[in-house]
Symmetry: C2
Subunit: 132 residues, 2 copies
DNA sequence: TTCCACTTTATAATGGTTCTAAATAGCTGT
DNA sequence: ACAGCTATTTAGAACCATTATAAAGTGGAA
């Protein structure tokens, strides 16, 4: 249905696996953060067939390249992704490794005054580390 | 000399290896960013004896814990460290993976309006990704 | 000097991620 | 519906940064 179009429009074949991963990632009330391991678990819980780990990696990277997912810059042994692709920032709870979205209104506009020749700004991301 | 005191004051024994790594990291005109691999190379270039890779990891982590180094939150397969431990931000050149310091005056103050119960802010870090 | 906890070291183990190559499945044109 | 082509999936191997291990070495206090 809706995801078939979405995938086709971006040049990705709407395979069974991709559509199922779309359901898990995008057919939700709210956006969320995840690691590949967490996504693998969510997929296991929600669908009955098996999707190979390699396919999950492939798909997540394909979706990220198409702009349907964003990587979150955090130092961790795993890569964190976000289904919220709007410009926004994050709290990072060092205790449990959990992320919390920060609305732009919680941070205020960020104005980068310095320019680098021949480069343009692709993104501005703020990470606020939290401790007890 | 100066590094012996520094180490002793923070409860780290001033071993030959740690002092040599201090020379490479802190006896410089300017601060710099590095990965463990880059540091390993720098050490090979500057000293004649060999320091085990495990010792380099141990030392970098010990120095980070004591606040002599900072990790930079970037998504990369390697961990980036910074010898500039003042509060500041970074440009990240996606093309070559190089980091550039941003002065606070280049970014302006960042005021996080939202609070999380029972947590306090440890750091606020801005990463500005650059593309061509 | 002696002793002991701290440190270094080589090497193995770990674990997230990427690669490989063969099997499978969309899709287009007939 | 079918053939043929290319994209995709898959299991498993490979990769590689990082961490763990356990034995040897070292700093420093008494």
């Amino acid at each position: 249905m809706k995801f078939i179009e979405k995938l086709r429009n971006s040049g990705l074949r709407p395979t069974k696996q991709r559509l199922q991963i779309c359901e898990v990632l995008f057919n939700t009330e709210r956006t969320f953060h995840f690691t590949i391991n967490e996504l693998e678990q969510k997929i296991k819980d929600k669908i009955d067939n098996k999707i190979s780990l390699a396919t999950i990696y492939n798909t997540v990277h394909a979706f990220e390249k198409k702009g349907y997912l964003k990587q979150i810059p955090v130092n961790s042994n795993q890569t964190y992704f976000d289904t919220n692709i709007t410009d926004h920032h994050h709290f990072y709870n060092l205790k449990d490794g959990k992320l919390i979205d920060l609305e732009n209104s919680d941070v205020g506009p960020i104005n980068i005054k310095r320019k680098i020749d021949g480069k343009k700004i692709k993104s501005i991301e703020v990470l606020v580390k939290l401790e007890d």
